[in-house]
Structure formats: C-alpha cells, structure tokens
Symmetry: C2
C-alpha cells in the first residue's frame, strides 16, 4: 500500500467535514511521528451543490457512494453517514479488501458479526472507535492497554442527550419535558429524541463494547433497555436524600459463559466518579481483573471529538497496512467461540420503589408482605406526610439485593392493589 493513502469518504456532514479538517490541518506531529499521509480521492455527498464548511475539490464529489467504494484510487473507505444503506457500501468495500473506518453504531451493533467475518475473509480491516463514546479511546484501550485483563464489569454513561437532561434535572432546572424541549432547541437532542431517551442508542453502544470487552455476539435489541422518560423531579430529590444521583447507565458484567447487559436509569453514589460526569459528557468505568477500576471520560459526541476518533482509526489501519502487519480486528472472537448476552431475570441488585398509596391502614403491610413472599428484603422505608391534594401519601421503599424476576413479579402484585392506584415506580441502584 502506497503512502499517501487514497481515502474515499462517504458523507460530508458534520463529522465528515471534521475529518477533512483534521486531515488538512493534521498536527504536524502526526505526519512527522506516524509517517502517514492521506490524500482525499473521492467524496460521496447527497447534494453536490450545497456549500461546505471545508474546502473540498468539487471534482471529487459524487452523489453515488458506490463510486467511492469502486474507485481504484481509494484504498481506505470512511463511512460517516449513519444511514441504512451503509451496510451495502461497507460490505462492498470489505469484499474488495479495502479497509473501512466508520462511526456508524447501528451498523456495528446490528450487523457487526457479518461485517467482521467478511473483513477477515478478505484481509481487510474495519475500525469503529467513533461509534462509541466519541473521542474517548475506549475500544483501543480495551483491545490494547487492558489486553492482560479479563474485563469483569463495565458501567457507561454512553448517551450525551440523556446525561444532559438528567444533569439539568438534578440542578433543579425543570422537569423532564421542559428540559427535553430546551435540549432540542440547543441541539443536544434530536427533533425525534426516541433513540436517545428510550436508551436504545446506549444499548447499541453497549452491544459494541460487549463484543470487544466480553467477546459477545448479540445486538442492541438483546440488551435489556429502559429509558428516562418516566424519571420525575421527585425521584431525583429522593435519590439525593439517600446519597445518590440518577444516571442512565449502560451496564455489562461477566457471567459464567455469558454476559449480562442492560441499560436503565440507575441511582449511583454521589461521590462516585460517574455521578460527577455532567452535561453531555460520557464516561466508561471498566473493572479489569488486573488493573482494578478504571474510568475514561470525555465528550461522547460532537464534530471534532468524533472526527478525532475516526482519524485515529485511519492512522492505525494505515500503519498496519504499510507495515504489512495484521488487521486490528485479527483479535475479534466470532461465531461459536463468542458468548451471548443473557436475559436479566437472574440479575441481582437493589431497588428504589416509589408509589402514591391510599392513606388507609394496612397498605404498607400488604406491600411488605408481597415483597416478603418474593424473598425481597426491605432496607429502608420513607413515608412522608399526607399529600395535600388528596387522600394519598408518597411511599418510598429501598430494598436489599433482590432478583430482577422476583421484583417484576412483586411489582405486578403491588400494581394490582386498589390502594396503589397509579402503580409503583422502580429505579435500580448500583453501588459501582
């Protein structure tokens, strides 16, 4: 492979422009140190006439991504559309033995297995640091820096939008709906925020991290997922009273022959590092068998952080190719050797339960009996003064460790009580 390397770019939106900017303005040390140089050969865009923030020779532009992939001058394809047809483009490039860099988390989470196999078969590389946690070098740290470790657990704040919303709610700046609207106005949330607030975005990222950290197969939809839509200001206040902060956590833990993976709002101790990851920042806490706990934090999205990760992958792929070294994904464990993502029924944790209950004798006793029947032990109870607006009182229960399946059965039974008309709200607790 020659140097400079011919690059084909699919997508010249925010991140694509950032990549072009970094390549044009590469820190001189990058060229001097890594002896790597890139030449942009072809760029696929939706609208060739649109003005661009970066200077790109108009002659390189095409509306057909397939042309970028097929161009013989293109040795390395960088896919930055996040679009659904990306699978076709990326697989076509790999089939031709061309290395691919991408920030496309949905592609990796949902069809990673096929793509890695295709890449390996064709001696091509496929790197995707930017698909999880933006510029934080978490994937290469798991692969390289922590290579002598078994990853025991992984806790991530992987979605900036929800962390921004929860941070502002924690500062008492409004309720969920108001702050979501602000976030949309400020560009921190999409017009349709479903993927973010439902936890699905974090679940896809967690599926990717599980593949690297735990050698699992499994897609985003195999990850248990609950969003932040039901979090209320009063949950945040109760959490504070108990010494906790509410975060949308992505959690994965080594199990015997499988991996536990879930995304849900969780109470974490106020003085933990993850509780202090504010606004749109991301963080990942990894427990390694040798190194113990490590935390990596930084911006999880945005033009230049994401572009920084894409370019780091490009440099590594070229270094490997120029040297005739193997692919970065030579370390992937695929197919039957990989483990699967286990259902959460048997996971044990502590729970925070909150309900408005009718102010009549015996309600607490009935709820306590339901929990006891499921062998769920109560750690503490907060019952406040009667609600001013009616005959109901807020009741909060914190449990000791209990199994998820038992808790779900108990919830069903409590929800069926006449004295708990609006049902019970549950937030999981993690000590970290």
């Amino acid at each position: 492979m020659s140097n400079p390397i011919g690059v084909g770019l699919i997508g010249l939106g925010t991140v694509g422009s950032g990549v072009v900017e970094l390549l044009q303005d590469a820190p001189s040390s990058m060229r001097r140190r890594k002896h790597v140089d890139f030449a942009l050969k072809r760029v696929a865009v939706r609208d060739r006439a649109r003005p661009r923030a970066v200077a790109v020779d108009k002659a390189l532009l095409t509306a057909e991504a397939a042309e970028v992939v097929a161009d013989p001058a293109v040795q390395l394809v960088v896919e930055l559309t996040g679009a659904a047809p990306a699978y076709e483009w990326v697989s076509a490039a790999l089939r031709q033995g061309k290395d691919v860099g991408t920030a496309n988390k949905a592609l990796l989470a949902e069809r990673g297995e096929e793509l890695f196999e295709l890449a390996l078969k064709n001696g091509a590389d496929l790197m995707f640091e930017a698909s999880v946690a933006g510029g934080i070098p978490i994937i290469r740290s798991l692969r390289s820096g922590l290579v002598a470790n078994r990853v025991e657990s992984l806790y991530g704040i992987l979605n900036g939008t929800t962390n921004y919303i929860l941070t502002r709610m924690s500062r008492g700046e409004g309720d969920y709906a108001d702050i979501l609207k602000d976030a949309q106005d400020e560009g921190y949330a999409e017009p349709d925020p479903t993927m973010d607030v439902s936890g699905m975005d974090a679940a896809q990222k967690l599926a990717i991290l599980c593949r690297i950290g735990f050698h699992s197969t499994g897609t985003g939809s195999d990850v248990f997922c609950e969003g932040i839509e039901h979090i209320e200001q009063s949950d945040i206040e109760y959490a504070r009273e108990l010494g906790f902060v509410i975060k949308l956590l992505a959690i994965a833990k080594q199990q015997n022959g499988s991996v536990e993976a879930r995304v849900h709002p969780a109470m974490v101790p106020t003085d933990s590092l993850l509780a202090n990851i504010h606004d749109e920042f991301n963080a990942i806490q990894v427990q390694g068998s040798a190194v113990g706990p490590q935390v990596f934090s930084g911006r999880g999205a945005g033009q230049m952080p994401t572009a920084s990760a894409v370019v780091a992958d490009m440099v590594e792929m070229v270094e490997r190719k120029v040297a005739g070294a193997g692919t970065a994904i030579g370390d992937m464990i695929l197919g039957e050797e990989a483990v699967s993502i286990a259902p959460v029924e048997n996971v044990e944790m502590r729970y925070f339960l909150r309900a408005l209950v009718c102010d009549q004798p015996g309600v607490l006793e009935r709820i306590a009996r339901i929990l006891a029947e499921e062998h769920i032990s109560i750690a503490s109870v907060i019952q406040k003064e009667r609600d001013l607006e009616g005959g109901s009182v807020p009741l909060v229960i914190v449990t000791h460790e209990a199994k998820e399946a038992a808790m779900q059965r108990a919830l069903g039974a409590i929800d069926a009580l006449d004295a708990v008309p609006d049902g019970v709200k549950l937030i999981r607790m993690e000590e970290l």
Copy 2:
C-alpha cells in the same frame, strides 16, 4: 522473531511476580486474540534462595542481570528493578537489538533521550506504559487514540501516596504527620517518603508524559516542583470554604515553542473530576485540540495494575516484531526537533495566600500595597477573629491571575514584614 517469545526478566519483586502471574494465567483471550505467547527464559534476582510468591523454575534464576540480557534465548528484556544500574542493562539489551519493557520512571525521565536514540539506532523497541500512572493506558492513548490532536494541556494526579494523604486530611482524619505515619504503616508510603511527598516522583512522571504529549526533552529536575509537606488542616478547611479541594497536581501546558511543566499542591474546584479522585488513585485530564477534555483514572501503582501495563507493552512489542512492523517508538521526536521545558516565571495563575499577622492597624494595608506594586489584584480577603493564643490573626487572600515571578517578589516583601512573623503560605489555584 519466533513465537513463543523468549522473555528475560530482571527483578522478581512485587511487580515482577505480578508479570509472571499474568503470563502464567494469561486471559485465554490474550492468547487466542493476539496470537502471542511468551516463554520465560531467564530471571535475574538478588537472592536466588528467597521463597517466591509465584512458581518459577529455579534453573532460570541468576544473580547477574547481565546474563539475562546476554542470553541468546532472550528476545525481550523486561526490567522491573527500579534500580540505578538499570541503565546499563537496558542499554546493553537495546544495543543487541532486543526489545525492552520497563516500569522504571527514574530511568525514563532522566535518561530517556539517550535510550530512545539507542533503541532507534538498533531497531529495538522500548516501552514504558507502567512508568506513569500504573495500569492507566495514558501513554498509548496519547500516542494512538489522540494522534489527531495537539495536546493543549495535561493535569495529573500522578502520585498515589500524596493523594492518599491529602484525601485523608480532607476527611479530617488527622494532620499531615499523623497520616503520613499511618500511610507508612499501611504500605502506602515508603519508609523514606521524600520522593513522593516532595513531588519529585510526580515530576519525573510528568517529564515522561511531556515527552509523549508535547515532544519535549527535559528531565524531572526541569519540572518546577513543590511538595505537600507544608499543607495544614486549616489550608484544607479554607479551600473547602472557597469551594476547592487541595490535590498535588502535575501540570503541563503547550506554550509557544516550549512546554510549561510544574508539580505543586493546587486548589481545584470541588465538583471537578480531579477533585473526586480519592485515596491512592491516579488520574490524568488531557485537553486535546479536537477531543476537548478527557479524563483517565485508575490505580496508579500496585502489583497487578503495574504488571497489567507491562504485559500490554510486551504484547504490543511482540505483535509489532512478529508482523515486521516498525517499533512503537518510531513516533518519538528527539534531539533538536524536540521542545524544552520552560521555567515557570511567566506562568499566570490565581493564588491563595495565608498568614498569621499581628493584630495591629495597617497590616492588611501594607500587604495589599505590596501586592498592588507587583500588579497583583486581590479577588477576596478572609480575616477571621483574633487567634485565641496570642496577638495574631489569620489572614487569607485570594488573588486574581498573576505572574509567578511577580508573586515570588511579593512573597519576599511580605515575609520581610515584622507584622508577618511566620511568613506567608502560598497555594496555587487551578480552575481545570
């Protein structure tokens, strides 16, 4: 280079035993994924008869490190003594074209330049992730994950002993001398703690990070250095009142053609991530031109975290050798292309000043005039009630940004006042 790789180990103390343990009990994934295998061929120890925590074939043991280096079966030398003669052993290995992994920060900080040049000349590699911040993959993150960034600044908590002492002081568990003694009893501090508490250990580590992050020459003694010995409980309490926590910070910043590098106690905002790095943990906050701020945190010392970093380096060196790829240190910028560490005189920051002053009219006015003459502007003053024990009152002044040289001149003038009999104490402030 054949696989398995013949390893020669110099030093079978805590970290050396940890490395042997990791190699013996390598996560199966390491072998499967990285296709790398190691065979221990020779081990230098001070006392061959001493019982060892790990099982090592007695026939491999020698009292002569030079034998390890010279052994033709040894392809990779791992130096883990931290001893002064390490320079001879490491340079001899490099001269023979053998790759070297080491955790020896003094060696790297003080003689890194010579060793890198020697390694490059002989086509050998020299890796040292374990020399800074234990198992945290900070060096490879700077080299690889952040390759597309100019490092703008770097703030580190790089010494576990002092962070442990300051954390416990912050919890009100005793004064400096008491907690240092506890730390020595518990093994968190050396019998002679000078290197740690004086900041010199952190200064050496910072010199190494500056070499990677800023391409600087310069050793630990080029880094401005002040220790924690003079920190008192009352400093910590004043800091808290002001919304700060005191940490021993290692700070480096890009300057025009040079790098600013200093180690000293610093007040950092209570809600910053670095303020929440507790006990013996380390952390590094890096500001990259593209990624923005990133934080890496974990255990900065200890047997297995350090061994984890050593083994990660061993794997990378072997991967490169087996593939016929270049050395990891091919990216070093040495000699005249490197920048130097600048003196701190022109650095600007905010200062916290504290003194016991005689309770007489005009003292504050005289101090304020000295500061004004040096163009140092006062941000706030705290003057408490008269000290019960005598005629002096505690005075605290927080300044706006001022130049270090101006502040040093002002300190000299204030110390000369009769009304400030014990002189003035200074702690620098960093907003992060």
